[in-house]
Amino acid sequence: MIEIKGVKKSFGDNHILKGVDLDIKDGEVIVILGPSGSGKTTFLRCISFLEKADEGKWIENGAEIDLHSADKKQIQQLRRKSGFVFQNYNLFANKTVLENVTLGLTVGEGVPKDEAEKRAMEALKKVGMADRANFYPNALSGGQQQRVGIARAVARNPELILFDEPTSALDPEMVGEVLKVMSELASEGVTMIVVTHELDFAKEAATKVVFMDGGNVIEQGPPEEIFVSPTQERTRQFLSRYLPEFTYNI
């Protein structure tokens, strides 16, 4: 169980996050929905220290880490516990697929090379990319690169994997293959936070849906609730295309 409390972030006068709270239970798949500019991505970047939050706390097993003033050691510790999947993949261009996955293990955690490669191959098999282990990223399609990106996050066995719009840069066909991998991970009980615009994925794989707008969490709950009977007007508006339609026959 991880509690994230009161994350605030502003760029100059522009308040992106106005105090976001989130509870993450083990094995939970949390999908964050919301219009562009609502702070979803910034929230993920803040809790992985890619962006420095102005305020906010990460509470885990009673231990509290301040997101604003965490020192290098704490940041490194938290980063080792989580994986991150980027919108534009960000695979290491000078490394092969296999090296991409092993780098975090061998260099970051000091795992021996043999074992790292074994674990990497397992992760690559999971995402169906084991046959491309010696390819360089530039020779792969977007969907393949993203699957490697997921394998890179999974191989380190993190407590939590963060997905930042993993399918936004892909064409519809590739979206399918990436979402399939993600659904499989979800059913294996990997704890994930997913920022996405794929509402179908949210409906099927999520255990909790969080709706954000204007830097605040507007509403959260299980997908059955959010997608069928949202209590807030803003959520209703955003999901209008997906809500069940009622027709009246008189």
Partner: protein, 145 residues
């Protein structure tokens, strides 16, 4: 001696600017990906960023090295004799200008070609990830007959 210092300072300024350009040419995403993979910034630079920057820098390093080589003939202004100066003097003494200049022409061409070849090899090695689709490992034999 002074010539060394002057050229050292002058070219190190140019080279460091090229380094800077090369490093910033490697996208920020690469650093972020390394950080979220659990690497420290130092490890990220060693394993990911510098290896890519080296490939970006190779062509500009090559041209400015060749430039510097040719510019060194200016040291004659401070009475240091390099090959151009020697050739000029010899040509003047024996009144054989054509031969003298053709000689240094050939020397420069040879030296520059060798340097260029070395830099090309360097560039090719460091940008392999861009031009080849996969890494050939020793395990698979590597050679296709």
């Amino acid at each position: 001696m002074y010539a060394f210092i002057v050229y050292g300072l002058n070219s190190s300024a140019t080279y460091s600017e090229m380094w800077k350009a090369g490093l910033s040419a490697v996208g920020r995403g690469q650093l972020e990906a390394a950080q979220t993979s659990g690497l420290t910034n130092f490890q990220a630079y060693i394993h990911v960023i510098i290896p890519q920057a080296v490939g970006v820098c190779a062509p500009s390093f090559c041209s400015s090295t060749l430039n510097m080589l040719k510019n060194t003939s200016l040291v004659f202004l401070m009475t240091v004799q390099d090959i151009t100066a020697r050739a000029k003097i010899a040509a003047g003494q024996q009144y054989k200008y054509v031969e003298g200049y053709v000689d240094i022409l050939i020397t420069y061409i040879i030296v520059c070609t060798i340097l260029e070849f070395i830099f090309k090899l360097w560039e090719k090695r460091t940008t392999r990830y861009k031009t080849e689709s996969q890494k050939v490992t020793a395990k698979e034999g590597g050679v296709t007959a």
